[in-house]
């Protein structure tokens, strides 16, 4: 079976279900399936995906669909917002012990980036928070792990502490604690050895360390490329150590980082920072919004729905829809519809936002926008009565309108012809419940 690209698949779904104003089990099914696949492909744990998608479905059921978007697009937006909400508040700061030394312990599997992140955190605290930081290596296992952190500390001009040889990490940690307390440090960052969550001995070592130094922060490093098992890893570390937060590393790659969602969903711990490069300055606060985009993809659909929501007063749209279907469609309605479309953005920009939308050439786009402006000028030159009853327009009135709008009689006739076409279309659409679909044919995009 050949798999189409994601946006192609969306486009075909979007085409199928449109013009429905409320989310139902039926019109959500196909899109929810795509969302499920997208989340799985982003490495969100399958159990998390299952219950998350179910929650989204329950939440979305019966919700109104914004005018100018279709149910599939609406559900994507709801899903995006749920992920964002789940991922938590922006900029969850590092804790600080106001009465003295704050202890931060970094833990995680091998190769997740603990030592580099220890350096990055030290630099962040030193430069951004003006804190006095002590870096301490407890990794007595990996060859040259201590040298690595020392080199980093030297390059940052940050204090460093460890013991050489076959020292006991517990011993090193206690001594660093005393050094930190007596020498007026604000933070001590402990870099621990990488370990498998199934390694009983090394997990006990971490528990002992935690009991001895009482860290204010115990942060789990999670590799953005981590797979399905990441959630089990996080749960084990959390059960053993009571994690206070997590840091996502290697987000400068192209991994989606779906484990961020699994982690938050299963443990509830906040993600505090993200590593976005190899340089020691490449540490950022965690942004749930961007992460939601990254995990779900479909950012284009989400911004389309957002724009639609901003632009449209839903009540007005509802009222209008009601009127239109009663058959009272007049030139004023047409103008209001046009303005609404204009508010969402230029036609070109909107066409880009909708996957699968037939590609308009730049010429076509320009022409459509020009035509819309011209229509507006002409309709504005009519009297309110003429707008409601365009059928009364005679040659002399048309000439007056053409003059007033700086157009020709032919232009005025074009508007009237388009109006007739639109009116016909409105009649055809009657019976179909419609939130605010643009009734224009011709170069106007149909949503």
């Amino acid at each position: 079976m050949a798999f189409e690209s994601l946006s192609d698949r969306f486009a075909s779904i979007f085409k199928k279900i449109k013009g429905e104003s409320r989310l139902t089990e039926k019109n959500m099914t196909e899109m929810l399936r795509e969302i499920r696949i997208a989340l799985l492909e982003a490495d969100v744990n399958f159990k998390v995906v299952k219950s998350f998608v179910k929650e989204v479905e329950e939440k979305a059921l019966g919700q109104d669909v914004y005018a100018s978007v279709n149910p599939s697009q609406m559900i994507v937006k709801i899903c995006h917002d749920e992920i964002k909400n789940l991922l938590g508040e922006e900029n969850e700061e590092l804790k600080e012990n106001r009465n003295g030394l704050t202890k931060v312990m970094l833990v995680g599997l091998q190769g997740t980036g603990k030592t580099t992140t220890a350096g990055k955190l030290a630099l962040y605290l030193k430069d951004k928070k003006k804190k006095k930081v002590l870096l301490c290596s407890l990794d007595v296992y990996r060859p040259a792990a201590r040298e690595q952190l020392q080199e980093i500390a030297n390059s940052l001009g940050v204090a460093f502490y460890t013991l050489e040889g076959n020292s006991n990490p517990l011993d090193i940690a206690r001594r660093a604690l005393i050094k930190g307390q007596t020498e007026g440090f604000d933070y001590v960052i402990y870099d621990t050895a990488g370990r498998l969550q199934i390694d009983q001995e090394l997990m006990k070592e971490l528990r002992d360390l935690s009991a001895a130094i009482h860290p204010e922060e115990t942060l789990l490093l999670v590799d953005a490329a981590a797979g399905q098992d990441a959630v089990n890893v996080a749960m084990t570390f959390h059960n053993d150590l009571k994690l206070t937060g997590a840091i996502m590393s290697k987000l400068d790659g192209d991994a989606k980082g779906g484990s961020a969602l699994s982690l938050k969903y299963m443990t509830g711990i906040p993600i505090k920072f993200q590593g976005v490069g190899e340089k020691l300055t490449d540490l950022e606060p965690f942004y749930p919004d961007r992460m939601a985009d990254r995990i779900l993809g479909m950012g284009d659909v989400v911004s389309l729905v957002e724009k639609a929501k901003e632009a449209i007063d839903e009540k007005q749209a509802a009222k209008e829809a009601g009127r239109l279907f009663e058959g009272n469609f007049d030139l004023e309605d047409m103008l209001r519809q046009m303005k609404m479309v204009q508010k969402i953005g230029s036609i070109g920009a909107i066409a880009k936002l909708i996957p699968g939308m037939p590609k308009l050439t730049d010429d076509q786009k320009e022409k459509a926008e020009k035509e819309m402006k011209s229509f507006e000028a002409i309709i504005n030159s009519m009297t309110p009565y003429e707008r409601k009853h365009p059928e009364v327009l005679k040659y002399s009135q048309k000439t007056r309108i053409a003059k007033g709008s700086g157009k020709t009689n032919a232009d005025v006739n074009r508007v009237l012809k388009r109006f007739e076409t639109s009116k016909q279309m409105m009649k055809q659409m009657k019976g179909m419940r419609n939130g605010g679909m643009s009734p224009f044919g011709g170069p106007f995009p149909k949503f």
Binding site: M1, G111, Q148, L149, I152, A224, Q228
Partner: protein
């Protein structure tokens, strides 16, 4: 004959290697074969829920969404067409479909490093950050030293703090010669010096370490082709082997890694590390299927001799069968 039966008959006796695979894959087996078996017992005949649970098992094993959906689709139509409703039969079909092709394709392939007739054999190790390149190098050096080969290491990761020291410590422990470049030196020139030295000193196997790099960094990926080119200038046909190291805990991004590295520099094999820590083995299948580069070595534990030459049948036995109840 189904694959299950074949494996059970083949591995009736315990040997050290088979046991190591069983041990290292115990987590993966629990997440895959044991769940499959449990599922087969829970249902009398297959239905929609059965296939849904099957799908979850496969995705949970990081087999990959696309591969999984394909497998399930095929099983569904087979079960319909041939009227198969017995869960055990469906499971056997699944296993056959997943692995038999690999067994066939992998027949007679030797994963051991292929040594050049003359001159040093150069092995270039590449991979993303933190996948375990340096540790794997030490383990490979240990392996070939034990086989009586003269091994030399080249510390070509001049970027990460402590990387050169890390390899140096391994060289001391293993008592192998090592060439260390200066911090921030051009890795290609370090590789060149290393290979040159290996040639002069009659080294059999020269293993070149490189800095970890994410596959999205195009400048760093281009650097790899340069390193390879420079090595080839000093020793014709070298590097004879280029191994991509992949962390077994990696999810769907493993494919993207393999594809990007394969594009930057021709790969002769893949080394899967940290297999013992993870509960899935699906990534191996996906990589083989989509990139066509064979897995050559697999890390089944943290001890020096836990990096094993990849043996597909033992791997499958470890993943699917585990303790051979019939044979005991």
């Amino acid at each position: 004959m189904g694959l299950f039966k074949f494996l059970k008959q083949k591995f009736t006796k315990k040997d050290e290697k088979t046991e190591k695979y069983r041990e290292g894959l115990s987590k993966s087996r629990a997440a895959f074969a044991n769940r499959l078996e449990e599922l087969g017992k829970r249902y009398k005949s297959v239905n929609a829920e059965y296939f849904e649970e099957l799908e979850e098992i496969l995705i949970g094993a990081d087999v990959g969404v696309e591969t999984t959906l394909n497998l399930i689709d095929n099983l569904l139509s087979k079960s319909k067409d041939e009227g198969i409703s017995d869960p055990k039969q469906i499971n056997d079909l699944l296993v056959d479909e997943m692995f038999v092709g690999y067994v066939e394709a992998g027949k007679g392939i030797k994963n051991d490093i292929r040594f050049a007739e003359t001159g040093p054999t150069v092995l270039l190790m590449v991979g993303a950050n933190g996948v375990g390149k340096t540790t794997s190098i030490a383990k490979l050096a240990y392996r070939y030293q034990k086989q009586g080969k003269k091994v030399m290491l080249v510390a070509g990761d001049t970027f990460r703090a402590g990387a050169r020291e890390q390899l140096q410590i391994w060289a001391e422990r293993l008592k192998t010669p090592i060439l260390v470049g200066k911090q921030d030196a051009d890795p290609a020139s370090v590789a060149y010096d290393g290979v040159k030295k290996a040639k002069e000193e009659g080294i059999d196997l020269c293993i070149v370490d490189t800095a970890g790099r994410l596959q999205t960094k195009s400048a760093l990926m281009a650097e790899l082709s340069k390193i390879k080119r420079v090595i080839g200038k000093e020793v014709e046909g070298a590097p004879q082997e280029t191994f991509l190291v992949i962390d077994a805990t990696t999810g769907q991004n493993g494919i993207s890694q393999a594809r990007a590295f394969a594009e930057a520099t021709p790969l002769t094999g893949i080394v899967i590390t940290k297999m013992d820590g993870t509960s899935k083995g699906g990534i191996i299948l996906s990589i083989r299927e989509q990139i066509g580069v064979p897995v050559r070595f697999i890390g089944l534990g943290e001890k020096m001799d836990d990096l094993e030459e990849f043996d597909l049948e033992r791997y499958l036995n470890g993943l699917l069968v585990g303790e051979n109840k019939d044979g005991d």
